[in-house]
């Protein structure tokens, strides 16, 4: 172990961070869908998908709906075509390792309607190694961000046209934005004489 760490050029603080454990003490208060009337919910109900919307949260003024993974494409299509959310503002992943939630990852679609000047968030909760259906057919702008989520969190997108790493090198091992990926400690290149330097 020590030898490998020397080869990696790890300092004591790097090791401390790598060995840090996360406490699952945090609970997310489950939201309630009762009493929420939003035009997204209404149209989703008209399409018979109200069972797929499982949670609601108010993110400082932005309504956020959690939908089941199998219905995410349909729900996003409704949001785009029936609710006028024509712009994909952003799409990103969240790792909930530190929270005591049943799911591990979230894929968050932040949508914007230019006509109504408002936003909603549609999110999918995923278990570890659970694939997520790609939204690239509905919002072509998700092609790159979904690649980024794949790269950073290791979430597989089914039906994605071009699922490759985007920011990290193709031969990189691991997914850096996962909470159990250490900060620091990546292999130092050109380390052939580390041991000589250490012994001096």
């Amino acid at each position: 172990m020590v030898d490998a760490d020397v080869r990696l050029g790890l300092s004591g603080s790097d090791l401390a961070i790598r060995n840090k454990t996360f406490h699952s003490a945090l609970t997310m208060t489950p939201g309630t869908l009762e009493g929420i009337s939003h035009r997204f919910l209404r149209v989703v109900a008209e399409h018979g998908l109200q069972e797929s919307v499982v949670d609601f949260q108010d993110c400082n003024g932005i309504p956020s709906f959690t939908v089941n993974a199998d219905a995410v494409e349909a729900c996003l299509r409704i949001a785009k075509e029936n609710n006028g959310y024509d712009l994909l503002s952003d799409c990103f992943g969240v790792d909930r390792l530190g929270f005591s939630t049943p799911h591990r990852f979230e894929v968050v679609y932040s949508l914007y309607s230019i006509a109504h000047a408002d936003r909603i968030i549609v999110r999918v909760a995923l278990l570890l190694d659970e694939p997520c259906p790609s939204a690239a057919d509905v919002y072509p702008a998700t092609v790159w961000p979904e690649r980024e989520i794949y790269d950073m969190f290791g979430v597989e997108f089914t039906g994605h046209p071009d699922l490759r790493r985007i920011l990290m090198p193709d031969d990189w091992v691991g997914h850096p934005l996962r909470k159990d990926f250490p900060l620091g400690g990546e292999e130092v290149e050109f380390s052939h004489n580390v041991r000589e330097q250490e012994s001096k």
Binding site: I17, L26, M28, Q57, C59, N60, G61, I62, S64, D86, L87, L88, S89, D90, F92, V94, D95, G98, F99, V108, S110, I114, A117, R119, Y139, P140, A141, V143, W144, P145, R165, I166, L167, M168, P169, P176, L177, F181, L183
Partner: protein
């Protein structure tokens, strides 16, 4: 047989070390070759690598490869306290530092639920518009330089430098000031600062006339930009384009108008909208934006000068340190000051989105708090990341020489893309 002989003969004409991959499509009879543009190519504005498949001079396919400037800023921010993470926002999109500061501050202020004083709102607008002018000046110079108009670059650099001097006068730092922070501004403007801004603004309209004179009616400029890299409104929305590049395609959407923040609703200005969505329109939209930014700066200056001595930082001790004078007399204030800058503050569990109209488009910070002193997750939405997604669509079927013009016209910053 004959063609392969020809190929081998051709490949020997390249000097050693330059390899060009050639393909022959037997169905269509097309000969294409694949070349690398970048990652270190002056016209790619950073370290962007494009793999171009060419049929003669025409681009058949363009594949951007990004990530050369990836520094893991999101991950690093998750391991710093809220106040320390602020300095990293300067370093992702390094040409619109104050706009990034503002987006992050807006998100954190929502989380801790704090109201900031009127004067800091005004100064935030003023600083953001100065930043927009500085960023557009850099864009104008490099864009013109890419297309071959060299002299514009020297002039725009002078103007940008004046704004950097304004920032230096304010903070002692030329670019990465972190001057906009959660809770307001780090400090009030020093004496002589407003005069410096005033003198910059006084000469600015004349400079704009000069730039227009150099480019707007220049036949070579028009030839190189008109009808090049056309994006229809639907194409632009599909790629997730925002900012001036989206407006040039005819979509009238500006966050300063649609979802005003920091009191933008109190300022009179127009937003420029293009008609054809080509490189020329994107140039025109940004030129008009520069004039509108100038107008906003004038109005903000008037407001700021009417409030001498007003506070520029919230007096909510939860996130703002006690005033310096208090530290000399009060032990509690000293302890609080120390705790605030070592441990930091603990926003309640929640999520907030801070979003501003940056020079390149919608700049958004999505901050998730788990109740600790460090953000659990910071997502940085880089507008350039989405804007670059539109490049392959624009390039298809165009000449190689136009690719350079198109990259310049979407005004990408690689720090914003790779983060």
């Amino acid at each position: 047989m004959q063609s392969s002989d020809l190929m081998s003969e051709r490949s020997t004409t390249f000097p050693a070390g330059i390899e060009v991959e050639r393909h022959h499509d037997s169905e269509s009879g097309a000969d294409t070759m694949t070349i690398n543009m970048g990652p270190s190519h002056p016209s790619t504005h950073g370290v962007l690598r494009l793999v171009l498949e060419l049929d003669g001079e025409n681009v058949v396919r363009c594949t951007p490869h990004i990530g050369y400037l990836h520094t893991g800023i999101e991950k690093t921010m998750e391991n710093l306290s809220y106040y320390k993470a602020l300095v990293l926002t300067d370093r992702e999109d390094y040409l619109s530092n104050l706009c990034n500061n503002l987006a992050y501050s807006l998100a954190v202020e929502q989380l801790v639920d704090v109201v900031i004083p009127e004067k800091s709102q005004v100064l935030r607008v003023l600083l953001n518009e100065l930043e927009r002018i500085a960023s557009h000046m850099l864009w104008l110079g490099t864009h013109a330089l890419d297309i071959g108009a060299m002299s514009v670059f020297f002039y725009t650099w002078q103007d940008r430098d004046l704004i950097l001097e304004i920032k230096e006068h304010m903070s002692g730092v030329r670019t990465k000031t972190s001057w906009i922070c959660p809770g307001g501004l780090r400090g009030d403007m020093p004496s002589g600062w407003y005069e410096r801004v005033e003198s910059f603004l006084n000469q600015f309209p004349k400079r704009m006339e000069m730039y227009e004179g150099l480019l707007s009616n220049n036949p070579i400029w028009l030839e190189r930009t008109r009808g090049v890299g056309v994006l229809t409104p639907q194409d632009a929305l599909d790629a997730g384009l925002t900012g001036p590049s989206l407006r040039a395609s005819g979509v009238a959407w500006d966050l300063r108008k649609s979802n005003p923040y920091s009191g933008y609703e109190q300022y009179e200005f127009d937003i420029a909208v293009g008609q054809y969505g080509d490189v020329l329109d994107r140039y025109r939209v940004r030129m008009e934006e520069l004039r509108q930014s100038y107008e906003i700066c004038r109005q903000a200056m008037k407001r700021a000068l009417a409030m001498p001595g007003a506070p520029v930082r919230t007096n909510d001790r939860k996130i703002a340190p006690p005033p310096k004078a208090e530290l000399d007399t009060s032990m509690e204030a000293l302890i609080h000051h120390f705790k605030l800058f070592t441990e930091g503050y603990h926003p309640p569990v929640g999520e907030a989105l801070g979003v501003v109209e940056g020079p390149r488009g919608e700049k958004a910070y999505y901050v998730i708090s788990d109740g600790s002193n460090r953000p659990y997750r910071v997502r940085i939405k880089g507008p350039s990341f989405y804007n670059l997604q539109a490049l392959p669509k624009m390039c298809e079927g165009r000449l190689v020489a136009d690719v350079v013009a198109m990259i310049g016209s979407i005004d990408i910053v690689l720090g914003d893309i790779d983060r």
